[in-house]
Chain length 209, copies 2
DNA sequence: CCGGAGAATGAATGACCATTCATTCAGTCC
DNA sequence: GGACTGAATGAATGGTCATTCATTCTCCGG
């Protein structure tokens, strides 16, 4: 977390044909290693070994150990946000838009257990880390959700007087807990299948109508 | 996380008048230090200094650094569970019981920022830690919630066909996210005040009736 | 086939810190 | 007051890695 050099930028500039591949390779290895041992119990050398490169090579593509974790987050969130925006682009109904988001959210994590572990557990290392994440991509993700809720309020399909911000946190919290629970539970149920239950409960509540 | 000796048990047996006090003192110091630096970036020596004792003294009361973290969790959860059970004992209405739980949950964390940080961030260090926690006290906490929901289903005040387990995760997830968000947000709103919003949304959903 | 440039290597370095334990301290009893 | 006991101390130890960088490898143009 110390350095602030240009390693990443350089790696982008590097023209060798397999440069991007190797970066991805290391990132994938890091995801696996961090997921299985935890970030602080993982050695950079482990990541290198799993990636099939020497320890020093990691430092050609990343600023240091911390940068590996940060990069996993940034890369995944970048993809997720892009996919999310694309997926809801054509969906007008706010409730339906929330459903799309919930499905994407749980499907993505349910597809890659290691990534899910890193997201649900390893990324929450320290307040400093989390504050940093919360401020960037995660903020955008929250905005995606809040927008749908705000639209529902605007359109009058959602109850008046609701706080969009609070509802957003609750919606995200519900999804987040489903994912965490899945990561920690021994018996592996289908995470994706739970998206509809979350959305349904969020829309209708538990009370008998 | 290695040893499994009897340090803790001994400290309970110890008869010196201030033994319990000192253990608490160290635990409180650990909460503060872990909250501010993160568990892995904290040194046992820091905890000792804040507690006003020598480094070695910590080992008279705890098995090691890990035991500090585990003990913070166990002590707090023990209290919370006892308080929670007592508080809902006289409350018959399931929805009202959920309200009591939500208030207690957010009030307790809102009262002690350091404790909140440790619970929302530091305790989620690694899957190994979390699995261990999930299996013990947290399981009991979930049961507390699930029972209220099951009762609501039984009584017919909650919608038929709902999965109590899923609803429990969603309810807990919502509370959990409120707490995490509070911990990470710069402007300190009143966490306790959000309990009602969570319960209300959980009961009624967002849709206009 | 040679020279050179960029990539990759991995052994060596230097910090860092949990834990131990020989020593000191403080209180109690006779 | 002196000997005993358990509590507390904190300097020393040992092990663990992140990171560096001198060296080796690979590949390409001429």
């Amino acid at each position: 977390m110390r350095a602030s050099s240009t390693a990443r930028r350089l790696s982008v500039v590097r023209q060798s044909p397999s440069a991007g591949d190797k970066r991805d390779l290391i990132l994938k290895a890091a995801t696996k290693v961090f997921a299985r041992n935890g970030f602080f119990n993982s050695q950079v050398a482990d990541v290198a070994r799993v990636a099939g490169v020497a320890a020093g090579t990691v430092y050609l593509y990343f600023e240091g150990k911390d940068d590996l974790l940060v990069s996993i987050f940034e890369q995944s969130m970048g993809t997720v946000l892009a996919e999310g925006r694309a997926a809801i682009a054509g969906v007008a109904d706010p409730a339906e838009r929330l459903r799309v988001i919930a499905r994407l959210h749980l499907e993505r994590l349910g597809r890659d257990k290691d990534l899910a572990v890193v997201f649900q557990v390893e990324l929450r290392q320290s307040v400093k880390f989390m504050e940093r994440f919360s401020e960037s991509f995660l903020q955008d993700y929250f905005t995606l959700i809040r927008q749908a809720i705000a639209d529902g309020l605007q359109a009058g399909t959602f109850r008046k007087g609701l706080s969009a911000t609070t509802a957003t946190k609750i919606f995200f919290g519900a999804l987040d807990e489903m994912a965490t629970n899945w990561v920690l539970s021994r018996r592996k149920h289908d995470l994706r299948a739970e998206a509809d239950a979350v959305v349904d409960l969020f829309i209708n509540g538990v009370k008998r109508p």
